[in-house]
Structures are given as structure tokens and as C-alpha cells.
Amino acid sequence: MTDSTILGNAPKLQDFSLEAATQLVQEFKGKPGSLIEALHALQRTFGYLDETTFSMLGKVFNLSRAEVHGVASFYHDFRRDKPGKYIIKICQAEACQAMGSEALTLAAKSSLGCDFRGTSSNGKFTLEKVYCLGNCACAPNVLVGNRTYARMNSDKFNRLVETLTSNGGH
């Protein structure tokens, strides 16, 4: 009844192929305004939007490649490169700032050895910023995959990263 990624499990991604991508988006053909839905479906399946999908989507939705690219690049969610196994988003908004998200962010960057939009050298973690996860009474918050972790600090963060690193099974 609850999606396993809600529990912090890494999503199961497929290796990208244009053929599979083309097949995947057919269900959105003719459904009004569903380009963003299609982009979400592609990213959910492959982890990112491959360069070659834009002209393919253009054909499906009767748009130019530039229009598709314009939509994909407008939204923060869509990424163009393959991410790490886990995507970690740290809230940067005011309520989390009030509870020390700045220090948490610095510690996270140093512990993962990468900046926002970067991936740790072991390929496991991609770090991103997010503005508000809607859990502002239990700040600061971190989202891993689909799971929110509340009242974070650098110690808890490092323990979480350790657990996920050794969590080979998921």
C-alpha cells in the first residue's frame, strides 16, 4: 500500500535506450497537455532525460525539438545527466534555515565531496537543493528519493549516508 521508494529505497532504473523511451511515451500521445507527464515518466524510468529524447518527443507531441527542450530546461526537476543511485535534496528554505540547514548543507557537501547538482565520487549520491518539503515544524529536512527525513543534523546525515552506502541490496 505504500510505494517502496517512500521508505527510502533506491528506484530501480533502466539503462537508456531510445527505442524503450519511444515506446514509453506512446501512452501520452493525444492526451492534452501531457508533455510534462511524459518527461516525468522518462526520468522515472531512466533517471534522466537523454539528449536524444527531445526530437523524439517533438515528433510524438507535434512540437519542435526546441520547444520540448524549452519545457524540460524550465523545470528544476528534470536532469540531463545520469544521477547517482540516491538523490539527496536538502531544503534551503526559511523554516529549515531557522533550524540550521546552512550548517547541515556545508557538512553534507563536505561529507559527499560534491556541490549541489554534483555526484559523489563513488557514484552513489547526487546532491540537490530544494525549497520546502512541507515539513516545516520538524526542520531541517532532507529528501532521499521519495522519503523525507526530519530534524536532520550533520551527525544524523552522515549516519544516513553510511547506511545507504552499505545498503547494497536496494
Binding site: 508533455l35 521519495n146 526530519a150
Partner: protein, 512 residues
């Protein structure tokens, strides 16, 4: 005998381990050969007590919280299945002052019922409003909303009934109802809590909106930062379809209404209604010029009601109990109740639904019990990232749309973020500009470029080594903010000056 235990399936509770708790409770009950049934409610809104578990006993629902996995063995030892005493025992949950002192209309069911069950929803007054609406004409349905005094809870506070009236009167084959669930304002989480705790109230509200204005299609535009909400909401929609409250010939009335969730993609600006409509059409979320109003030319160019989640979720209770009952709450032109959200550096954070008119201080001190760090409050931001920073001497401002505007702030979506003495308001002002530059849709210059110039100007103010230079930069900042305020296309650029200039006005010393 089977004992019923409620464990929230809700973001806050899950972020603090509720799912692991469910496993631990099941395992322990099995080990002790005890018969339990775990039902999944939403949160009642006392985030500081989550995960809050409740046991159904002959004396009512007895609460324990916040519960961690390690407490489970102890709870069974203390006979919590019969309401036994334990250090986490909080007694009858309804009688806890945090809840007993609220006035719950919109959130009356949240945290109490199994969140996606149509049966539980109906047992607690759900769909009674819809049934009453069925016996009314379209005009009278719209009049009911007008009479309730309900104003848009997303922040703009525009009378909901007037929007409905405009769409009702518009002539078109196709009209739409759109729920704005792109709750991007930091410090706000009431949309999420109603969608996770009582999602069917949103479904019913949209259904009533649909049959009032003549729309048979509804979309919920949900932000992607709420993955759990999507799952729960979809489950509720599926259940509503199965029970005949959505689809063709609803409950034999001959009426038709379809409902679909569409996910956002991490753009704050899509909370602005015209940008949201662009995004729903699968385009870049760029703000549209107004007029035409979305009520006349909205989604796919058709008449569209775009309402905030809380506005729509308040509709069922208005129809169930009558417009008069709803408008009896509140003060001045702010009628009804508002679910305030208390977050940031706060001891007892969460959702507090009260009639308009209580003061900010009552909210923070009586419900919130002061800061989490125990240090004195220095600043409070009300109304999200575009709301003003208030100093302590403004804490007695009543929570009311007009009173807040008079004090130079805005109530917005009712989010309240508390800061203690460690906050630096020059930094927060710079953050407001930075946020605006990161989230601007880019369509109008004052917002797109003004925000970048704003960051640079604040940097120069902070770096200035003499009073004269600093004053000069303050003049530039003021001028820039005036331009943004009067020349931006929407509230993003137009309101960013509010937090910035409130920081300058009340906390000028921080800029040195």
C-alpha cells in the same frame, strides 16, 4: 478482541519513522499473541507529537507520542492496548489543549479518520455537503459560497464565490476546475496535510465546484516535492470513483465529473495561477498577461476555476453546515477559519485551525510554546517567502488579512516561521532576492533582473565600509524594490520587496 490502533501515514510521521513503527507494532503484537488492527490516518497536526499513535478504547482514543521504534516493547509492557500509563501517554487526544483550543471546520476529520476510506469519510459528515448541494440550483450553490465569505486561501484572498460566479456565467461547452496544490511557499504545509489526512474533502469540494459552475473535468496540480501525497490522493480518488462519487451519473444524479492529478516539476512559480495553467498545458510555466482572466479564458482557453486546495476543501463544510455557520467565525472581512502553520524554530510546531482574529503572539506562545531552542524570538516571517519579517513588537497583530496588510505584511497561505536570536536579517533579505532570481519565470524584467540586482545591492550594503556608501546603496535598494513592486507581472517579483524591505525597516542594524 481486536484492538484498533491508528498510526499516521503522513509525511511528518513517516519522516520520523512511522512506517518502521508499524512494522515493529505488528511484530511485537504477533510475538505476544495479541490481536491488533492498524489503521492509517493522517496527522492531526501536532507535528511535535509525531509519530502519534492512538489506541481505540472504551474511554475514547488514547494517544502516545512521539513514539520511536525502541519504545514499542515498553508500550506493550505498559498495556497501552488498554490505555495503560507510560511516559509517552498523553491521554484522550481530543482533550489535549493543543487540539481542544482549535476551531476545526476544514480539518475536522484530518487525523481522525482512516484517510482514504469513503466509508469513514461519510461516517464523519463527508458528502453531506454534496448531497445538500444536489438539491440546489447552480445559482444557489454559488450564492452559498459567496455568503460564506470564503476568500482564496492560497494567499491572494480573492472571494472564491466571485470566481465561481464568473465561471458559472461564462458560456462554453467545456469548463474546468483546477486545484492549486503547488504549495511552494516555504513554511506552509496545510495543503499537504489536508491531502494526506482528509483527501476526500478536496475531492468533494472540487465536485461541488464542478456542479456549481458547469464543469465536468477537474485537475489537481500537485507539486512533485510531495511524493507521498500523490500516492494517498490517488488512492482517495480511486476510492471515490469506486463509490460512485466521481465519473458518469454520480450517485444517480445524472451529473458527470472526472478528476485527475497532474504533477508539477519543481518550479515555485507554478503556484501562480496563470503559470500553473501553462504548466498544466504541458508548457514552460511562464506567467500569462491578465486579462483575460482564467475564469473566462483559463485552461486550454476555456473558463476555469483555479482555487487553492484549502479553499476547495473548505467547501464541503460550508455546504454541510451552511454558509452562515462558516461566516460566523472570523473578524472583519476575514470570515471563517484559517489553518495556520507554525514552523521553523518552534517548540510545538504544527497546524492550528482557528477563526481569523487571534494574534500572532497567541499562536506562537499559546499553541507553539515558544522557540525550540528556548532562546528569545527575534523575527517571525508570516505568509511564505514573499511575506514580511515581523519583529517582536508586532506580535500582537491579529491574524486577519486586512490587519496584516496594515502592518506591512500579508497573511498569505497562513505559514508562520519563527527565528531566534541567531538569525541575520540582511542574510534573509538577500535570500529573498536569491530565491526570486532562482524561481523567476523570466518573463518580465523587474523580476528576472531586479532580483539579481537586488542580491548585488544587498551584498554592497553589507560590504560598505562607510555610512555614506551604505546609505547610497539603501536608496538604490529602495528604488529597485519600488520598481519590482509596481512593474512586475505577478506576485513573485511584485512581493519579493516585502520581506526585503521589512528586514531593512525593522532590522537595519543587521545590514552593517
Amino acid at each position: 478482541m481486536t484492538v484498533i490502533i491508528y498510526v499516521p501515514r503522513e509525511t511528518t510521521a513517516l519522516s520520523l519513522g512511522a512506517e518502521e513503527l508499524v512494522q515493529a507494532l505488528r511484530t511485537e503484537a504477533q510475538y505476544r499473541n495479541l490481536d491488533i488492527q492498524i489503521l492509517r490516518n493522517g496527522s492531526r497536526g501536532a507535528c511535535f507529537l509525531e509519530p502519534l499513535i492512538e489506541v481505540e478504547t472504551p474511554q475514547g482514543r488514547v494517544g502516545y507520542g512521539p513514539v520511536e521504534v525502541d519504545d514499542v516493547g515498553e508500550l506493550f509492557d505498559a498495556d497501552f492496548l488498554n490505555g495503560g500509563n507510560h511516559r509517552l501517554h498523553i491521554g484522550n487526544v481530543d482533550q489535549l489543549p493543543f487540539f481542544a483550543n482549535q476551531e476545526r471546520l476544514t480539518f475536522a476529520r484530518a487525523g481522525i479518520i482512516e484517510s482514504t476510506s469513503v466509508q469513514a469519510y461519510e461516517n464523519h459528515g463527508g458528502f453531506a455537503g454534496f448531497k445538500r448541494a444536489l438539491g440546489m440550483s447552480e445559482e444557489n450553490r454559488v450564492k452559498e459560497v459567496l455568503d460564506s465569505g470564503l476568500r482564496g486561501r492560497g494567499g491572494a484572498a480573492f472571494p472564491t464565490g466571485i470566481k465561481w460566479q464568473t465561471v458559472m456565467k461564462a458560456v462554453s461547452e467545456q469548463k474546468y476546475i483546477v486545484a492549486n496544490a503547488d504549495e511552494g511557499d516555504s513554511g506552509t504545509f496545510s495543503d499537504r496535510m489536508i491531502m494526506e489526512g482528509d483527501p476526500l474533502s478536496l475531492v468533494e469540494g472540487m465536485l461541488i465546484a464542478g456542479i456549481s459552475v458547469g464543469a465536468n473535468m477537474g485537475y489537481i496540480y500537485l507539486r512533485s516535492e510531495y511524493p507521498l501525497t500523490q500516492i494517498i490522493l490517488q488512492e482517495a480518488i480511486n476510492n471515490a470513483y469506486a463509490a460512485g462519487y466521481l465519473g458518469q451519473n454520480i450517485k444517480g444524479s445524472g451529473l458527470h465529473f472526472e478528476l485527475e492529478i497532474r504533477m508539477g516539476a519543481g518550479a515555485y512559480i507554478c503556484g501562480e495561477e496563470t503559470s500553473l495553467l501553462e504548466s498544466l498545458e504541458g508548457k514552460r510555466g511562464q506567467v500569462r498577461f491578465k486579462p483575460p482572466l482564467p475564469a473566462l479564458k483559463g485552461l486550454f482557453g476555456q473558463p476555469t476555476v483555479v482555487n487553492n486546495v484549502i479553499s476547495l476543501a473548505s467547501v464541503p463544510v460550508i455546504f454541510e453546515k451552511g454558509a452562515q455557520h462558516y461566516s460566523d467565525f472570523g473578524m472583519g472581512r476575514s470570515r471563517g477559519t484559517m489553518p495556520f502553520q507554525l514552523g521553523g524554530n518552534i517548540k510545538q510546531g504544527g497546524l492550528i485551525e482557528k477563526a481569523f482574529g487571534l494574534t500572532l503572539r497567541q499562536l506562537i506562545e499559546d499553541f507553539g510554546a515558544g522557540t525550540a531552542t528556548g532562546k528569545p524570538i527575534r523575527a517571525v516571517q508570516v505568509g511564505g517567502p514573499l511575506g514580511a519579517y515581523f519583529p517582536v513588537n508586532l506580535l500582537d497583530t491579529p491574524l486577519d488579512y486586512e490587519e496584516f496588510a496594515k502592518a506591512g505584511g500579508m497573511l498569505g497561505h497562513g505559514g508562520v516561521v519563527v527565528f531566534d536570536h541567531s538569525v541575520n536579517l540582511a542574510k534573509m533579505a538577500r535570500f529573498s532576492m536569491e530565491f526570486c532570481s532562482a524561481e523567476s519565470c523570466g518573463k518580465c524584467t523587474p523580476c528576472r533582473i531586479g532580483s539579481v540586482r537586488g542580491m548585488e545591492t544587498i551584498d554592497r550594503i553589507v560590504a560598505a565600509d562607510n555610512e555614506h556608501e551604505r546609505d547610497l546603496q539603501f536608496i538604490i535598494l529602495k528604488d529597485l524594490c519600488d520598481t519590482m513592486e509596481s512593474a512586475s507581472l505577478c506576485a513573485m517579483g511584485g512581493l519579493t520587496p516585502i520581506p526585503v524591505m521589512s528586514a531593512v525597516k525593522h532590522f537595519k542594524g543587521d545590514f552593517q
